[in-house]
Subunit: 507 residues, 2 copies
């Protein structure tokens, strides 16, 4: 009998799974056995700075280890850590910590099975074909950025053919995980879909008219390069709980979630699938809900945990409104939402005070523990409420799509729901409307409507509004710039304190 | 008992072997069983153009399949094909063809296990640290190039921080396989040696003084990225003969041989180890002999095959001196050297004429076959002489090193021996002597002597001299430029029709 082992291969110390093949097999064999796992979203308070995690991965690992201990078939799906950022020293790894760790972080944090390298090569090959199109007179402007897995602020703006006869051709370079091809890998459910989406990517323009890659090159080049990169990796926690790792876009400047097929694969094999989305609830969780679930058919979460540090939540009076805002927002969406406070060493004595604050705020009973120190053991006797709530959810609800609505209305809706800023305080920076009109016209020239694209907010991971320390009725969200990604079907909207280019300085 | 299986892991459809670990184990356990395989070098006539192979890989595969059929434990060690070149369409794959093929070329040709991607990320991280050093005032000139696995002629000259306040910083980008870090991976026998060599790489200069990476960053970043990339891959021919694939530098602009540890690993496990070196005998074979064997302790070949196409050898009167030159040169070095003519379809009737020409030239009996069509079967009854000659070689001789000799004298020696051009016709292009003096001073400032570096000729793969069609007594070799690579210990000397930057145009 065919089963998941037929789609699984050993790759060094991890396994890789042909998720496309397995999910296709399940589709074609409706009677083949499978599970219908529920998605649990692990998200977090908005971090005080980008490099400082609240402990989502650590929490995710502790949670699945604890659920497993209770006899529940739980797993987690994580994004692949950005090796370049780790290697450059901008951020530590992202494979948990202490007793809540993955085995072999030296593999997970340091390039896994070459997935990111393959995506980098494929996106850069597309740029090379765009440059060739400039040489051939088929393009006069290159719009697709080069990518680099390792950061350097010097790469934010580059010129190719520098000092050559045909003049300096300006290009930009972004971090590999943030590129459109990564979004395509994250959102696609087959290699054919990837090829189709890459073909729709805008290479650049000639005389203002967009040219797609389908007009410039053959897609076998890209799909051959992607080869095994589209297969999720299977690793495990130090306690033996399975963990899938696949896809690595950033939640500040991209969709910030693991690949949809890795989550769907996990749901077919396990009862509870914990999905970790990047940065705060205003970033990765917003994107799981409003991009993945609403627009790309991903499962609506059956429960959520919002991770915070005691210090983040309590010690910054100007920003402490953010944590209850996140918890309450998810609850209002009908998602049973549990506060989880990830303690640092020496904070155990704060538990009663934290519990009291949670109670005053009308939260569900908070889950509190030092998960680095204690791992899943720190959660064992705190999960009854969570498990009960999860069991009480029948089929996850089907969320409404925003497709066809005006892009700005969708951004206003996000600002209101995800950042707490009403429509009349969503303001336009000079140039925004021109940028929007340009993007609208660009895709209209391809016979497409920008309002059918999913909105992806591009913003600082550490802020929700233009000034989070302002009074609640004075907070604003400024819209700055629009970029249409015709392949992934995403319209990137830069707002508040977004980076101009996601290419951090090396530290 | 410890054996090779303890150092072997499955990676998808190939295996990867911890060659560093295994060779270290053998060194520490002198009584552990091992073989002492002999190295056979497969090289070729100088190709008429870079993109046109004579069929070295096809020959190599057919040869080991045929030897295996005769009960000889033969294997081959190949370089990893350049995925970027294949994807861009500049060249087909490099995993043999027809009946003389590797299984799963879709893996071998398309990125293998991410080795090249890891080397690319590591070398680019070094460049990022050099750029940071510019920001920090520790460097004013970056000398280490960015790398890209996919080609684009537009990348030959780039400026970073383009249009920014600190001014346009000129950099260049070369193909990943050609970079110094790839040379280091090819020539090193442990991760410690890699770290030591990377630390000695010159990042750039400040006020003309060289600065090495040991002064700028920590080597764990590089060695962590390289992780599994330093492990040779083990695959097999369609007939089940084992083949090792590792390392991918180009023989025109770099050392053009597989990693030394992959060859040493194969020699410990098999009786006959066929090593394929890149391009013609004037390129890869010259580099195996004069760089790997003379300067880095690689085994001197016990036999050689020089592959040609009937058309290359016979149909270009102006260049047909090259083939007998290569065969005779290797014989004169004491290496039993066999001509091998790899026929195309429809050329079978030329065999008698080819045999007669070989006889007139005083060659050993040539091996002739259509190896694409017939694979190893085409060689089965032609290998007696080869096997006899191979068995007759006792211990391979120990070649003399050129270390300490003047760099120009070593180049003259190469020109005479490998290209047939005497010392008085080795001429200097204006600027060469300044370039040499600069390189000499640069390394002298590090307390090192350029004469201790191994000379690597950088030249077109399709020519041996400034004009191969000139009369024998008029051929010249022009020396153009010198670049010291203090990490790999190589001095790159550009000569004849060398490319300025190894970054082909996309086709």
């Amino acid at each position: 009998m065919t089963n998941i082992d037929d789609f699984t291969s050993q790759y060094g110390i991890v396994k890789k799974i042909d998720a496309f093949g397995y999910l296709d097999y399940l589709k074609k064999n409706p009677d083949a056995p499978r599970k219908h796992g529920k998605v649990v979203l692990v998200t977090a308070d908005t971090p005080l700075k980008a490099s400082r995690g609240e402990g989502k991965t650590t929490t995710t690992i502790a949670l699945i280890d604890a659920l497993r201990h209770h006899g529940i078939d739980a797993t987690a799906v994580l994004r692949q850590p950005s090796m370049g950022i780790t290697a450059a020293g901008s951020k530590g790894g992202a494979s948990g910590g202490g007793k809540a760790s993955l085995t072999h972080p030296e593999i997970i944090d340091w390039g896994l099975c070459g997935e990111m390298g393959a995506i980098e090569a494929a996106q850069n090959l597309l740029v090379s074909f765009a440059e060739k199109a400039v040489d051939d007179g088929k393009l006069d402007t290159v719009l697709v950025p080069r990518v680099s897995e390792v950061p350097s602020r010097s790469l934010r703006s580059i010129a190719v053919d520098y000092g050559k006869n045909k003049g300096n051709v300006a290009e930009k370079t972004v971090l590999t995980p943030t590129c459109e091809l990564m979004q395509i890998v994250v959102l696609s459910r087959s290699m054919d879909e990837i090829a189709e989406r890459v073909g729709k990517m805008i290479a650049g323009t000639i005389d203002g008219e967009p040219v797609t890659f389908a007009e410039l090159t053959d897609m076998w080049r890209i799909t051959n390069i992607l080869g095994d990169a589209v297969k999720p990796a299977l690793t495990e926690t130090v306690n033996g709980t399975p963990v899938y790792v696949h896809g690595g876009p950033f939640a500040n400047v991209s969709v910030g979630i693991p690949t949809l097929v890795s989550v769907e694969l996990a749901c077919a094999l396990h009862d509870v699938v914990v999905v970790e989305a990047g940065y705060g609830a205003d970033a990765g969780a917003q994107k799981w809900l409003d991009i993945a679930s609403r627009e790309y058919g991903a499962q609506w979460p059956s429960a959520a945990l919002v991770v915070t540090r005691a210090t983040t939540w309590r010690d910054d009076p100007d920003r402490q409104w953010r944590y209850p805002f996140h918890v309450n927002r998810l609850e209002k969406l009908g998602i049973p939402t549990f506060p989880l406070v990830n303690l640092w060493e020496g904070e155990d004595d704060q538990i009663p005070a934290l519990q009291e604050t949670a109670s005053e705020l009308g939260f569900r009973t908070p889950i509190i523990g030092n998960l680095f120190r204690d791992g899943g053991d720190g959660l064992l006797d705190q999960l009854d409420g969570f498990v009960t709530a999860l069991n009480a959810v029948d089929a996850p609800s089907q969320p409404a799509s925003h497709k066809g609505e005006d892009v700005v209305d969708t951004v206003r809706w996000i600002a209101k729901n995800a950042y707490g800023v009403p429509a009349d305080r969503v303001v336009f920076k000079p140039g925004f409307e021109e940028s929007l009109a340009d993007a609208r016209e660009l895709v209209a020239n391809l016979g497409r409507d920008l309002n059918d694209f999913a909105v992806c907010a591009v913003k600082s991971p550490a802020t929700m509004t233009d000034d989070d320390t302002a009074a609640a009725d004075e907070r604003t969200v400024t819209l700055k710039k629009v970029e249409a990604r015709a392949g992934s079907g995403i319209v990137q909207v830069n707002l508040t304190t977004s980076l101009t280019t996601p290419m951090p300085k090396i530290v």
